[in-house]
Symmetry: C2
Subunit: 201 residues, 2 copies
Amino acid sequence: MTATTDTPRRLQIEEVASELFRERGYAATSVRDIAQALNLQGGSLYAHMASKEDVLWSIVCRAADRFNTEVGPIAAEASSPPVDRLRAMIRAHVGVVTSIQQDAAVFLHEWRFLSAARRAEMSARRDSYDALFRAVIAAGTAAGAFRDVDPRLTSMAILSALNGIPTWYSPDGPLTAGEVADQHADLFVHALETNPLETHA
Amino acid sequence: MTATTDTPRRLQIEEVASELFRERGYAATSVRDIAQALNLQGGSLYAHMASKEDVLWSIVCRAADRFNTEVGPIAAEASSPPVDRLRAMIRAHVGVVTSIQQDAAVFLHEWRFLSAARRAEMSARRDSYDALFRAVIAAGTAAGAFRDVDPRLTSMAILSALNGIPTWYSPDGPLTAGEVADQHADLFVHALETNPLETHA
């Protein structure tokens, strides 16, 4: 049986599952828990999903797609200076983690519970995404706009900082999502920009 | 029955449990899994531990103690300039995450599975620890050494970056733990230091 993946019921299941996965963790959430949260019998869910992992996979893929859709085109603007590109990429990434906060948290923390083959596929997708950040950092250094840093370590530092946002950001908190995005962009652009005095030392 | 918490057997249980918690997640690890990894009967473990959560609590507390022991005294050196203090705090924090990488990962990712009371206690301890970073950032801004940034957002960005290190750092990789520490310290000091040109603008 092939479960359909884009019906309103399926999307409702994914939304409830995402909430439970985030709250309790994927491993500690059962199909029965998902059914109960929807006031359904566990068995009736299987008309809409092949397995619990199948639902996790949908959530994780949709989040990964969203990051690529928002950040990919900015990273590809080769004519834009690296400092502008990095700033816009950070803003776009923060835009995703703050707008789909729950799915982003599941994507970031629960993806490791995928089966080996899917985990390998997602690991490769994540690495291609991280490579967009490594490339813009390396381009900035090559252009003399950024200090000579390790692009891998630096991209991991930036992405770890941005991916930590769902753990502390609240839409009801003192900062808007736009302010959070701007302040992270400022922080890392300052971290990387060459100091005009140092370049003449 | 009170389980003893510092016998060689108990420490061995915690080490094996930490490995399993990190690999599979706390929720997906059973007491039976821990016993099997030690070639013991599940029941015999209870002479050494009150519950699975009890073992998680020991691992989490030991990691939290380690961060406080290494970073706390540096943060308290009020006579040291904020830029030097922040640099040394970042180096010390990275020293902990790279030297007890497995326990640090369990501390950072599995602590949310603690019971409500213990989770509240650890949440308060974590907040006191984060406050050390907020304070040195605010002190740097007050002294004119750091830009005028939001200390909370900035400390979360720094700690999220540093706490991401166990997910990608390998002792067999191209960078030593000391290099990882230095490069993170450089990155965030650059991110915060006031630009000598800007301060005269």
